[in-house]
Assembly symmetry: C2
Homo-oligomer: 502 residues x 2
């Protein structure tokens, strides 16, 4: 038994090391790698994935885990060891359902699909991506056959990103969310204030943007000796190790606030990674988030609930103004705060405002679900996409580049991923509601740039659990109930009724 | 036989992939990694080294190579396959002489020695590094026992970096080099011009330095889609793959020319890496340089022979002046050219001028040789270092930081490495001599910023051979003779007699 325990810890440690290497390969590809390095990078990444997958699904590891899962043995284990063994057993069992031959097949398909998607997007020509996407959809269906969870096929995809989540449950939440958001949006877009609102076409230099991003990172308490900020096309967070968590942003977007909010967003992710249970669970399957939705709750929490609040801008408006006095000439704090929270139905998900964002997600969820239920097929996607955009947001893409081709997820075979963006957003509102109940002076603290209590609260309520419980259980423990989009809608009404005087 | 060939190519390919991953781990550590990432990075690097070493020394690979080495088989192989098999056999045989247990032991020792060296250097306290260095020296001796080449122990170390080079041969070259350099230096330092020469204490901004570095990279023809320039404490070149070769420089040194010459130097290395025989030998043991000395010949060639020439500054002086007019006010091209080539005995190897540089190398060679011959021991090093500095260069370190502790090489167990810096410098002068014979219009081409012919010449004479021949054989083929320091001394006399009017 001791041997088996030693063995599973040794192997988990090595798997963590593989994970860190894979993260570096990915990070470098998105940030600094010279263009022609892509082909060799694909081979490097594939090698590490293969070695890691072989180790994780090996007979030897499986047998040791099985020994420890024997009720007579499991009962004698310490709490920590038991949690690790049970979690490991579940993870490996799932991995072993998928044949290596299939893993290689889907990896090859997506490796070819990604550049095809890039080209299709650039040329706004869906037909270039179509044959690849058709193959991927078929592979995803095949994958569902291996996992084979009860209920609709899509359950088997959802479970990869949001363990335990089902189509039934999600559809309930999303149907309510969708109709409430559309209703809310209609109220706002027909308001007088909406009629009069307008954007700013001034630019802020990259250097100024970077300066402000570094200020907010500092204030949020991201330890610089364990992190970095770099630049990539799409912002992301990745962990090379427990003490090396990196975020990226992008300074080239039209809106000068894009880099700022994406930095805050990714810093939220990074703080979660950096505050996982260290001493007890480092280098085990527990030292992770239980779901992408819960991970997203951390980024959305900081991005929306904190950084789009009035208190936050009482703190940051002077900092911004001081950094770019030209930009803020004739722009008072009230006007600025309204601008930061402007609702404006638009075409691109990653640039959407807080209110319309989830509609973009629901659109993708509905399409994915119907694809998996064999109700629609791939060639219909562009048309259906545009119809749904019109139906939900009242806008129509001029071309597929700003429509069905805008996200890279499908090219990588990430079906079932999009819903976690909305789940995280809902969780974030639930957490914020609870935080303000637990600590009513939170607004003052934000205004004073004191984020210590928020950070400790998140650590105590979320981070310290790692993967010991399911996401929904953790939320239930903190907020008294699991996923509930009503809380999110309540939060939005409270904020936007006021902003738009409806 | 077909199977064995397939197998050895497959394994070499995978070893190349490991090599690229290891290179990225190292590059990132020296450029962007957050400070606290070091411990986890050491584990990542160790894992890749172990996997790679296991593969390279495996029974299976060895057996396939042995099959192919059978004279009845070897005779039937195509030229290319034969070269690969013979080279592979030699490399593996050497690797298999060293027990894995020893590899792990030396890796652990140097992992601890590196931070000890850093601390010792920072505090200028040799005693902190002493016990580590003593262990390393013992391990190096043990290593020589495994390799066990004929002659002095040090031969077994030299061979790792400069295959086929022996103490006998090197001592002959270095003794001549040393006395000639000292004699030349004495003439220069007692000249009138030397008496009057002085430095410039103006600074050039990092941005201007970067701008100029990018100009020279462009002109030298480094393909940007296959390379990058970044910043690290010590400049270096590394290959993540055939199409991803990266160089670094440092903009923080006192002398604004440090970043420029180190960029030229590393670009010389990178051009070699990027022009290895691609189609035929990529992902085999042949697609590499036969020795560090030959690699260094490429960097020194560009740094010294090209970039410190008068023709080069006829091209670059206006570019520099245009970029930093303030700096170049009252500084005419003649004064600048003399400044660029100023001889000035100094303490730090990496900042030494073209003429005194090799004396720094010979000093280290002599100490290493005596350590390995059991003539001296580690505690004597600081004193002997200072004596030799005084004897060869007429300067004395004020402390060990600017003396025996200045280089990181020994902390990593790289004994036998330093001589390659001088070997490369000598080779570079031999190549340049031959180039000017082959193409007398080379100076005009440099002055016109046309480096195409130089590049093609180097590719034809050096790069295209990869590791098909030994370094000395390649030089012999190109220049009619192997390593010959007389050519280097001739080059120096020609240049510096003129500059110092002696």
């Amino acid at each position: 038994m001791e041997d088996s325990l030693d063995y599973i810890y040794k192997e988990q440690k090595e798997l963590s090391v593989y994970g860190g290497i894979a993260a570096l390969l990915g990070w470098d590809q998105m940030t600094y790698m010279p263009a022609d390095g892509a082909a060799e990078r694909a081979e490097q990444t594939a090698l590490i994935s293969r070695l890691s997958h072989e180790k994780f699904t090996s007979e030897k590891l499986w047998n040791h885990v099985q020994k420890l899962m024997n009720p007579n043995v499991l009962g004698t284990l310490q709490k920590k060891d038991k949690a690790v063994v049970v979690r490991l057993q579940k993870d490996i069992e799932k991995s072993r359902k998928v044949p290596s031959e299939f893993v290689e097949r889907i990896s090859k398909t997506t490796t070819l699909a990604y550049p095809a998607w890039q080209e299709a997007r650039e040329k706004s020509d869906f037909s270039i991506f179509l044959p690849h996407l058709e193959k991927i959809v078929e592979l995803e269906k095949e994958y569902c056959g291996f996992i084979d969870l009860p209920g609709p096929r899509y359950n088997s995809l959802l479970d990869d990103y949001e363990e335990g989540m089902t189509v039934d449950r999600l559809k309930g939440e999303f149907d309510f969310l969708k109709s409430s958001l559309i209703e809310l949006l209609e109220k706002i877009t027909s308001s007088e204030i909406y009629e009069k609102q307008h954007g700013f076409d001034k630019k802020v230099s990259v250097e100024k943007q970077r300066e402000i991003c570094n200020v907010v990172i500092e204030k949020m308490g991201l330890p610089r000796n364990r992190s970095r900020l770099d630049v990539s096309t799409h912002p992301f967070t990745t962990s090379m190790g427990y003490d090396d968590v990196r975020i990226t942003t992008n300074f080239e977007r039209e809106n000068p606030l894009f880099s700022f909010f994406s930095t805050v967003h990714e810093t939220g992710h990074a703080l979660y990674e950096l505050r996982m249970p260290r001493d007890e669970y480092k280098n085990t399957v527990i030292s992770d988030s239980p779901s992408l939705g819960l991970h997203e709750s951390q980024s959305r929490f900081w991005e929306n609930m904190i950084a789009r609040s009035k208190s936050f801008w009482n703190l940051f408006y002077p900092i911004f103004k001081n950094s770019s006095p030209e930009y803020f000439k004739d722009l008072d704090i009230e006007t600025w705060y309204r601008y930061v929270n402007q609702v404006r139905p638009s075409l691109i998900r990653v640039e959407a405002d807080e209110l319309t964002y989830c509609l973009h997600v629901i659109l993708r969820f509905e399409l994915e679900l119907e694809l998996m239920n064999d109700k629609i097929n791939v060639p219909e996607l562009p048309g259906l996409w545009n119809e749904k955009m019109q139906e939900m947001l009242g806008v129509s893409p001029a071309n597929d580049r700003e429509g069905v081709l805008q996200d890279m997820h499908w090219s990588g075979g990430s079906f079932g991923y999009f819903p976690t963006y909305a789940i995280g957003t809902i969780y974030a509102s639930q957490l914020f509601y609870q935080l303000t109940k637990d600590n009513p002076s939170i607004y003052d603290e934000i205004e004073n740039g004191n984020f210590t209590n928020i950070l400790s609260w998140l650590e105590e309520k979320i981070h310290k659990h790692g993967r010991l419980m399911a996401a929904d259980e953790i939320i239930k423990k903190v907020c008294g109930e699991g996923l509930n989009s009503k809380v999110f809608i309540g939060y939005l009404k409270d904020k936007y009724y006021d902003l738009y005087d409806v």
